[in-house]
């Protein structure tokens, strides 16, 4: 069993173990989960260290690492040919960073769930199932397998939000589920279409292998998604349509304006650890999907629609930031800030330049750490007083100095203070977007300039919050009762927050920690996009 399988199935094993343990031991479940997550963390650290920077991946199986390819489903469907589905895992520079990110975010989320009291068995089992699904999405190279993991994420999330969430949890949970399902059902249709269009050059049969889908030579002459045939559906190029469908499916996850309305609800209603996972990892699946699937399989359509992607990115940046500015609920504010920050990802990706895509990748990783940190911080006060309305707090810096320090680190890091990862990420997303006009002519320069306004707005809402909640004389809505409850961060919290802050700082000072690993893949991806 290779490392990737271990990474994926370790949580499942732990989850089953938890299910089998008697309920009398329910206080120990979290240690089982912690063990699994820590082990996962070690494995991903090992993978990171032993990752070969020079291998590019993207479309060539031989340059993927830790490849595992086992025939899984072989079904004779008569005239439809043989259904060939492989258990096909592998990582390259685009996916490896996310494995590391996921394992760290999961660890933090687990630490944030330390005080969960309700139905522990179900909680940790679902948590670990989610962990498994996320790891699977990032390492699957067979589209069918990818889709299975992709959908598998929905259920645990539905229950995690729905059962352990806030007041309007039912609404938020189903809304989230529906949005995502709406995207993914149509994705399934495109997957089937791709299956029929692509043949495996080795066996001649149809295949779900994503890598084969990236090579135009593998498309059957008259197939619907054939590059040469250029078939049309309702007068729109089939490939463009498929790209749009896939893009929408992933963009819902990212999320983009105007497909974002699930996000504030889901984040706000979800319990803290789930918000951490949502913001820290799940949003990245959207971005990852766009890179791995939309750009790689439909580069022609991607280039065709780059202008719109860029526009959506800019719109998300500005719109998310403006919305954040209007919030009174701290968690909602951070949720909207996520929309804004993820807009940079889209802008960077749309530029199709090495700076832009690297910046987008960096932004995803950085946002993974920082948004986890932010949601963790919200969780800290929410856990203590069950309130997170910004106007209800004032002068927290006096009673919670260490907490305030972490808040400041997190806020300033997210608003792009140099030295933290978000700065490098946003700067290069924007530089890439600006550069695009000169290099490939995809995005007009004003988009980058407009996007940079998001940096200013980002500073505005975060600083305003800082001023309103943390500075000034202490004045709390809940009076002395709150004052007694609002104790400063404890050791577990400090550990989680520090590790996230350090990751962000490390990436900000030594971006090469991430860039070196992904460079070959990014270049390969751009090469792939420009071939056609």
């Amino acid at each position: 069993m290779s490392l990737l399988s271990l990474l994926i199935f370790l949580p499942i094993v732990a989850g089953i173990l938890i299910l089998l343990l008697p309920s009398a031991w329910q206080q120990r479940y979290k240690y089982v989960a912690l063990g699994a997550v820590l082990l996962q963390m070690l494995i991903s650290a090992y993978i990171y260290i032993n990752f070969d920077n020079t291998l590019s991946g993207i479309a060539d199986q031989s340059t993927f690492q830790l490849v595992e390819r086992i025939p899984w489903i072989r079904l004779n469907l008569g005239a439809l040919g043989n259904l060939e589905i492989d258990y096909f895992l592998g990582i390259d520079g685009l996916s490896m960073p996310f494995l590391v990110l996921t394992s760290l975010v999961m660890l933090v989320a687990l630490l944030a769930s330390w005080d969960i009291q309700k139905n522990l068995k179900g909680y940790f089992a679902l948590f670990l199932l989610l962990d498994c699904a996320v790891m699977g999405v990032f390492s699957a190279l067979d589209f069918f397998l990818f889709y299975i993991f992709y959908e598998l994420m929905l259920l645990p999330l539905y229950f995690l939000i729905g059962m352990w969430g806030g007041v309007r949890r039912e609404y938020a949970a189903i809304k989230f589920f529906l949005y995502t399902l709406l995207g993914s059902v149509f994705m399934l249709l495109v997957i089937i279409g791709l299956y029929f269009s692509v043949t495996d050059p080795e066996t001649g049969g149809h295949t779900f292998n994503m890598l084969h889908m990236m090579n135009p030579a593998n498309y059957a002459q008259d197939s619907i998604f054939s590059v040469i045939a250029g078939q049309e559906i309702f007068g729109v190029s089939a490939r463009l349509l498929a790209f749009i469908v896939l893009f929408v499916a992933f963009a819902i996850k990212v999320p983009i304006v105007p497909l974002h309305t699930w996000l504030p609800d889901a984040h706000v209603e979800a319990p803290t650890p789930v918000s951490i996972i949502l913001a820290g990892v799940l949003l990245k699946i959207g971005g990852y999907g766009i890179l791995r699937v939309c750009l790689s399989i439909f580069p022609d359509a991607a280039i065709q629609s780059a202008w719109w992607l860029g526009l959506i990115g800019v719109a998300s940046i500005l719109y998310g930031a403006l919305n954040a500015l209007a919030q009174r609920d701290l968690k909602r504010l951070i949720a909207y800030s996520s929309i804004s920050h993820m807009g940079f990802v889209l802008l960077g990706i749309a530029s199709a330049t090495s700076e832009g895509i690297s910046g987008a990748m960096m932004q995803m990783i950085s946002h993974g750490f920082l948004s986890s940190m932010l949601f963790f911080l919200v969780g800290v006060i929410y856990e203590r007083v069950h309130n997170r309305e910004i106007p209800n707090f004032r002068g927290l810096a006096l009673i919670m100095p260490r907490y305030t320090v972490f808040v400041m680190i997190a806020f300033f890091a997210s608003l792009g203070l140099p030295g933290f990862s978000a700065f490098i990420a946003e700067a290069f997303s924007l530089i890439g977007a600006f550069n695009s006009q000169s290099i490939n002519g995809l995005l007009p320069r004003w988009m980058a300039v407009a996007g940079s306004v998001g940096i200013l707005l980002g500073a505005s809402y975060l600083l305003w919050t800082l001023q309103r909640m943390f500075f000034g004389e202490t004045r709390l809505w809940g009076g002395d009762e709150w004052k007694a409850k609002l104790t400063d961060v404890n050791g577990r919290e400090v550990f989680a927050l520090t590790s996230l802050a350090l990751m962000s700082l490390a990436l900000g000072i030594l971006p090469s920690l991430a860039f070196d690993k992904m460079n070959a893949s990014v270049l390969e991806l751009i090469q792939l996009m420009n071939i056609r």
Binding site: A173, K175, L322, A326, A427, F470, S512, F515
Partner: protein, 685 residues
Amino acid sequence: MDTFTKETISLLALIATLLPLFSFAGILLVPGSRDRGSFFSILNIATSLLISVVIFLNVWNKQPIHQQFDWFIIGDWRFKIGILINNLSALMLLLISFIATLVHVYSTKYMEGDPYIFRYWAYLGLFCFSMFGLVITDNLLLLYMFWELVGFSSYLLIGFWFTRETAVQANKKAFLMNRLGDLGFLTGIMIVFSQFQTLDVNLLFSEGGFFKRSLVQGDLWYFSSNHMPAVWLTIAGLAFFFGATAKSAQFPLHTWLPDAMEGPTSVSSLIHAATMVAAGVFLIARIYPIFNPTVLIVIASIGAFTAFMAATIALTQNDIKRILAYSTISQLGFMMLAMGVGAVAPAIFHLVTHAFFKCLLFLAAGAVIHELHHLKDKKGLDFDHQDIRNMGGLRKFMPITFITMLLASLALIGLPFTSGYLSKDAILIQSFEWAESQGSIARIIPYTALFASWMTAFYVARLIFKVFFGELRLNVLFGQAFSLHEAPVAMKSVLVVLAIFCLFPLFSLNPFHASHAWIIEGLPYFSTTPTVESYHILIPAVVSIAAIILILIGYKWYGKNEKAPDYTKAAVFRFSQEQWYLNRLYKVMFVDSVLGLARTAFSFDRTIVDGIVNFSGKIIIVLSAVSEWLDRKVVDGLVNGVASVARTIGNFVRHFQTGRLQHYLLFMILILLTFFVLKYFSQAI
């Protein structure tokens, strides 16, 4: 001391830069180090100063030092960072470390007794680190990073007393306005990177650098194989200048600086008078070749206008720090003006002299405030200890403070024998020469500056006379005789040292003529305007004589006894006192409108975007089950628009499920018939 190799010097510069960072990290992270924060910080900054001296001696008027390292690779592009020390940066390094050291020493007394003083030392460390980094780095991106870090540490220091509402408002404003400027900086970086694929300052802006090699032809701006519309060259210049505008508090982004006075006075003197605000001027000097003539005219106009505007405002302010703040803005305007007219070296020269005398002014003012504050605390009185209307006659109590501050004031006014005279007149002269070559309209610029210079004399006189002459007005206010003390030694000695630097000999042996000042000789001269000899005599004379007259008027009005005509009702006075109403204007224009936009966006989000999904087709639902739908079924997990439509359709088909057998059969047959007819007879019909 020429024995140092390039590598050693780079290493030294690095050490000098990192030492304050160690104070920052050490004080905050190492347990138990908080109590020894001052010692630790002073040690570090003093070492930095020492190193800076060494570096200065090794670099000044010698080969610049440029060392590079790989930072990271992105795409095909190898991102290098490094240290570039030429005359300019060596000078800045020395200046900053020197003033920072003095301010550190001063602060030991000034901040004594503050419970969170360890944070003060830490923040100062961070600031010094960022500032050093800013001046020695060779890369625009890194420059930008330090640029922001400087802003960040300024944010921390302005809001040092974070329980004060005004302080946190002020630091937010400062950071945001600087952010706004940063957008310009970033845009500039994007343009430069896009055109040249590098951000190396040396490659870009040195003699024979990329900028010199790029050329504008027609509407396009070429460099090797790249080209973009020529307008981007102008935009780049404007963008960088916009960045500098924010940091150096130029119109229209100057309003943060007076508010920033909420920070401790020592901070104001270091950051908001001497060093950080000068970063904008430094930036422009560093990247000077990027500016094309259009941009230069903009710079000159903005500089002159700022100088003038800030001076008019300073005329009527009563808060001692606010007067100094506006005076800083005004002086920065002079520097910008100098940049605009091509007087880079005089601008930097003025930067240096201004750093000393303005720092001194602030520190002396700090001493005054410190004493008054003490008095206030001791006697439990309630008055504004920064309001000059409460002061007066202090020269009796604080002679050293008075003398040093007087010297600094003279330098600020620009009277002969002071450093300010040398630098300011150099600027004025050159701007007149420039205007000569530019034509008639451009003359407005130097004349504006001239007026500003005169007003400077008046408001400085007003300040000095009100604070140090006459009687202590507190005595009148509270009806008892107070007595004050001279500042403690640590503060006093700093004032004296700085006062020495307000005099001419350290800068030029000729007290009347700046053209042979060593700083000017050591810096590049970009100006091409012809020298007009008459100006070199005429202007200093006019400036000085007028200044002296104004000082006398000031003395008459404010000095002995209050005989100032009452202008407080005059519109012009109000206009000046309300700082040209710019704050309010900005609030209405930007803050309110952005917040309004944000609220609109949010309600748009709630009602329209969500609504398009949520409420499509809801009208039909409303007919069937409004009340139930709203309270219970909304939560039934069936809320989205898809849901509404789905439910509508579902409800529609449900009507056919009447429970009556014969209806079922009838519907069935009707549907079949309809299908049949449509399929086979539709053409016939």
